[in-house]
Amino acid sequence: MKVVVDQDKCVSSGQCVLNASDVFDQRDDDGVVLLLNDSPNSEQAVNVRNAAAACPALAIDIEE
């Protein structure tokens, strides 16, 4: 799994960190998404898919 985030689209909802805090974080200043790991392992994959589905700005893309 390969993860790409779009910081321009991000609206700082925090849904990604809520769902997968070991893969995503937020910039302290404005809450914009930070990608901690662009190649999550199979155990993290379910949470990353939930994060992408929950992102209100559609700012997370997953390539399987």
Binding site: S12, S21, D28
Partner: protein
């Protein structure tokens, strides 16, 4: 009530029901039955609003999610055809400064990012001990006080008000003034002029607070806004408007959700027992999402306007047509949730829409979640014999407010 009229000049004649719609007083937790019925046939239909226009009402979960995320759907309330809440909102549209609620695209992103700092997941996580302490203090006072106790006045309102005051950086000495004015508009029989006066003094207070924080900044949300004013990014008035927005959205909504959430738990004692007996943070988190889905307290719809033609759900929404996305029927859509009329804290609640969706999804959602995840289980654990002190039918519901809830919740134990 419905009447026959010609819609959108196309010569199509249809029965167009009026919006907003009423809940059934016998089932106050349920969305208005007429909307649920409409959603059985189509996920979107035309409704007639106060000015006689016929915007689209979105009732289906999938269509709601899609439109919330569609860049062709705008919140710009200055556009011709925007489905305003009422005449007052239309007549003042050019007097209100632009805000996070009424701007699109880059302008919206700019406002949104100014507000986001205190609400990141990790910042809110760090606030949990404070929220727990405030909650415990309120419950201590309830247990030491007389019975029956009104949980709205003694728990549902003070917890989010105190937390948001701290976040905004309202000095402790002003808490009383602040709470009084912030809650002035929430009273059951508040007259329109009292609400306007309350809003005005609050705005004036925020203007002063912004100026004070410009001179003496500290670690809080108003200081963040004041910094932007000093940097010339926004005006003092805009900063005060953003601060007022945070305040109102930050405590009124959560307060209503806590009040009516407790009532829903008291009416579903087997579900309340599951929450009381659980120490699993995942179950507690899911339970809060389910309460959000079940209750969808934001009434009167999220107002939008199409900026291009949009084909969706078998219909075409034309550019310039109004769109009203109502969260309650979408959260009770049988296509998204089985037995949606059941409060089931253990269900896979998936993408509930209680916080909205898309670019304008609630800025304070992580804070609201943390507050509810702490307040509901703490109350149930500390007062396990809690029960309603009046018949269910006598509970005063806020049928007439932007946020649904209860005016009072008298309980004994």
């Amino acid at each position: 009530m419905s009447e026959t009229l010609t819609v959108n000049g196309s010569g199509v004649t249809a029965d167009v029901p009026e919006y907003p719609m009423d809940r059934d007083a016998r089932c106050p937790f349920a969305p208005p039955p007429q909307m649920l019925k409409m959603n059985e046939t189509k996920p979107l239909s035309r409704v007639k609003i106060w000015d006689g226009s016929t915007p689209w009402l979105i009732t289906g979960h999938a269509v709601a999610r899609e439109l919330f995320a569609d860049p062709r759907v705008s919140v710009d309330d200055r556009l011709e055809g925007f489905p305003h809440w009422n005449e007052h909102m239309l007549s003042t549209v050019n007097k209100r400064p632009r805000s996070v609620f009424t701007s699109d695209a880059e302008e919206h992103t700019r406002f949104r990012r100014m507000l986001s700092k205190p609400f990141t997941f990790r910042r809110v996580e760090a606030l949990r001990p404070v929220i727990q302490e405030v909650t415990d203090e309120c419950i201590d006072a309830i247990l030491q006080g007389p019975q029956p106790a009104d949980l709205v006045a003694k728990l549902a309102l003070p917890v989010p008000t105190r937390v948001i005051s701290d976040m905004l950086g309202v000095p402790y000495s002003d808490h009383e003034f602040f709470q009084e004015h912030a809650n002035a508009g929430l009273a059951r029989y508040a007259a329109a002029d009292a609400m306007q006066k309350g809003a005005f003094s609050l705005h004036k207070y925020l203007v002063n607070l912004v100026e004070e924080k410009q001179a003496n900044p500290s670690e809080d949300a108003v200081s963040d806004l004041a910094e932007r004013v000093t940097a010339g990014e926004i005006s003092v008035k805009e900063a005060a408007q953003l601060g007022t927005g945070l305040l109102i959205a930050g405590h009124e909504t959560t307060a209503n959700m806590i009040g009516i959430g407790i009532l829903a738990l008291l009416e579903n004692p087997e579900q309340a027992a599951l929450l009381r007996d659980s120490d699993d943070p995942k179950f507690i988190a899911n339970a809060v999402e389910e309460l959000m889905r079940f209750l969808s307290i934001i009434q009167t719809g999220q107002r939008r306007i199409a900026t291009e033609d949009i084909e969706i759900g078998g219909e075409t929404i034309r550019a310039g047509e109004g769109i009203i996305i109502d969260l309650a029927p979408a959260n009770w859509d049988g296509a998204a949730y089985s037995e949606p009329d059941k409060l089931d804290l253990g269900r896979d609640v998936g993408q509930q829409l209680g916080f909205g969706y898309g670019r304008h999804q609630c800025v304070g959602q992580q804070l609201a979640r943390a507050e509810m995840q702490i307040v509901f289980p703490t109350l149930l654990k500390r007062i396990p014999t809690l029960k309603l002190a009046i018949p269910f039918g006598d509970v005063p519901f806020k049928h007439d407010r932007l946020a649904f809830g209860v005016y009072e919740l008298p309980v004994t134990w």
